[in-house]
């Protein structure tokens, strides 16, 4: 059974593609920032912001909204793109990323931009904050859900595992975490830097409900988020297998693209690939 119609899936796939194009332009304009991560997680951002999450961009502090915490703050350009498309702020503001006076700080700052739930950047801290809000929701008997995106690399941090223990201890079934399993970090491939596998077995052993999905399959992402809602007495970890740099062939699978933006030529080629879906369709922009 599926929780999303085929038409909607198609619509979201197109939206994710548009978001990737905006992202490339944003990074080119900023002249610094992270490319591979946001491209790789864009389908998840798209599924969350345009199907899963309950929110009102006109009332970002709405008490009953679902909360989305981004733990690996360096992929903020992806989140900003989703938020702009969702209507939190005008899309043209994306071009201010990382610039003096911007609300789109290099790493997200909650107080600066309405709609952000947390301040993040230093790795390993987001899941703990999401736990805090999930505990507060239980205390207040609120039924909003708390979502938290975490990276694979930040599982090197001890605090991540403190949080993993804690969420299970409090049986936080109102918490859905989504692991951006892209296998890269700054110094190389995660399994070379500090092996993490098997994350499925680790999370299961730590008392979480674990679901593995293709992080570029909108339907699988949506269905996993729905499945999580039906789990009692356990937090859910959705391990989303993602391709870093997804959609731009020369960035895909390359850890070298973790922390740099495209230059003008590379941006042009990226946009061309995205607009033609890797040459599969003829671009109207050419």
């Amino acid at each position: 059974m599926s929780y999303i119609h085929d038409d909607k899936i198609k619509q979201l796939e197109e939206k994710a593609n548009e978001m990737r194009q905006d992202l490339i332009q944003m990074l080119l304009e900023a002249g610094s920032g992270h490319s591979a991560g946001p491209l790789g997680f864009m389908d998840v951002f798209c599924a969350l912001y345009f199907h899963v999450l309950k929110y009102d961009p006109k009332n970002p502090d709405w008490e009953d909204r679902d909360r989305f915490f981004l733990s690996h703050g360096h992929i903020a350009p992806g989140l900003y793109t989703a938020m702009a498309h969702a209507g939190y702020f005008p899309k043209k503001e994306l071009m201010t990323l990382r610039k003096f006076g911007t609300r789109l700080q290099g790493h997200p700052h909650r107080e600066t931009l309405p709609g952000l739930e947390s301040t993040s950047g230093p790795l390993g801290q987001g899941l703990s904050q999401a736990i805090g809000t999930a505990l507060a929701a239980k205390l207040d008997k609120k039924d909003y859900r708390v979502y938290c995106a975490v990276s694979d690399g930040e599982h090197d941090e001890g605090q991540t595992w403190e949080a993993v223990l804690c969420a299970a201890r409090y049986k936080l079934n109102n918490l859905t975490a989504i692991l951006d399993r892209n296998n890269i970090q700054i110094d190389g491939f995660t399994e070379d830097v500090m092996p993490l596998d098997s994350l499925v077995e680790k999370y299961s052993a730590f008392g979480w409900h674990v679901i593995e999905v293709d992080g570029h399959n909108i339907e699988q992402i949506v269905n996993a988020c729905e499945e999580a809602k039906a789990i009692y007495e356990k937090p859910t970890m959705i391990i989303a297998h993602t391709i870093p740099g997804k959609g731009v062939d020369f960035m895909e699978f390359k850890f070298e693209w973790h922390g740099k933006p495209p230059n003008k030529e590379e941006a042009k080629e990226s946009l061309n690939q995205l607009r033609t879906l890797g040459g599969k369709i003829k671009s109207e922009h050419e």
């Binding site: 909650r110 801290q125 703990s128 904050q129 805090g132 809000t133 929701a137 207040d140 605090q159 949080a163």
Partner: protein, 328 residues
């Protein structure tokens, strides 16, 4: 001349007969009071419920108490997540672990995030005693007072700690409060004023001024009385709030006496004394002597033995005052 407006206890100098209660009890009781006043007050602890006295709250409000296990980093970030959802979390552990071990989480999730989290650091100062250097927090003021948005307090006795905790709960924004393990004289009363950021002038004087914080404030008063008997008139300021610091009170004391002695159970590098020096050097430089840990770690021993060895006893304060006056 003891300042009568401060409403200190009668028989202030009868140390033997004075009631002695640890400042950490003031934390426990203040937190319970705050919990009664505001149902959003919640408490978290990292496996030290009894010794931090957060157990008082746990007993009264079990559903609002959260055991975090031995994970201070997670605790600070969880508290930040609770705060952005409208709670007023107090997190508690020993000062060496929180704000020691979780400084980055406090910097980013609490302070930069401007989350309404209160950090309670227990077992601060050399007077922690027998546990030894690993457990004696002597750097916590330095690492917190450099953080934007954070208020830093070191109350002087049990009652003042209680007031500081209740004031912290009412203040919107991050606060750090340090307190101590030992039973210390309760020399203030319910009527003694307390306001965040406003130092209390406990005793007036003309020849030198002692600016002190934490339980050593009482020793500063004893030292001042002894000096009085030698004909030296010493002003005593209880500088319970280190950030924001009461510049006016410090400058007034400096202008009046022309010599300052800072007294704290903390490293002299970066602590309350350094904060006082920053105020003075910018506005009205006078000779300063600093009583505190002189850039060394502590060791095991009885609190009084350690205070004596490291120059934070009444005698240590006396000597520092005389030295400061000589330098005028």
């Amino acid at each position: 001349m003891i300042n009568e407006e401060m409403n200190l206890v009668e028989n202030l100098f009868d140390e033997e007969r004075m009631e002695k209660v640890p400042t950490r009890n003031g934390f426990g009781e203040g937190l319970v009071n705050s919990g009664k006043k505001n149902e959003n007050v919640v408490a978290l602890c990292a496996d030290l419920t009894d010794s931090t006295r957060i157990s008082f709250f746990q007993k009264e409000f079990p559903e609002r108490y959260f055991e975090m296990g031995i994970s201070e980093q997670n605790m600070a970030s969880v508290a930040a997540g609770m705060a952005v959802a409208g709670k007023i979390p107090f997190i508690s552990s020993y000062g060496v672990f929180s704000p020691g071990r979780n400084w980055d989480q406090i910097r980013v999730n609490v302070c930069y995030n401007n989350a309404n989290v209160k950090i309670a650091g227990a077992h601060t100062g050399i007077s922690v005693g027998p546990d030894g250097a690993t457990h004696q927090a002597l750097e916590d003021i330095a690492i917190t007072r450099c953080l934007p948005n954070l208020i830093v307090m070191a109350p002087a006795d049990y009652l003042e700690t209680k007031k500081a905790v209740e004031a912290a709960a009412e203040h919107k924004g991050p606060v750090y409060i340090r307190f101590a393990r030992e039973k210390d004289p309760v020399f203030t009363t319910e009527k003694t004023p307390f306001e965040i950021g406003k130092a209390n002038l406990l005793k007036d004087g003309n020849d030198a001024a002692i600016v002190a914080c934490g339980p050593l404030v009482y020793k500063a008063l004893i030292a001042a009385k002894k000096l009085e008997e030698e004909g030296i008139s010493v002003l005593v300021l209880n500088n319970h709030t280190i950030k924001p610091i009461d510049e006016d009170a410090i400058l007034e004391a400096a202008k009046k006496t022309g010599a300052i002695v800072t007294v704290e159970e903390h490293q002299v590098n970066g602590g309350m004394g350094s904060a006082v020096c920053e105020v003075l050097s910018k506005n009205h430089p006078v000779p300063v002597e600093m009583v505190g840990m002189q850039d060394s770690f502590g060791e095991s021993g009885a609190p009084e033995e350690l205070l004596e060895k490291y120059g934070m006893s009444v005698d240590g304060i006396l000597e520092a005052v005389k030295k400061a006056i000589k330098r005028k």
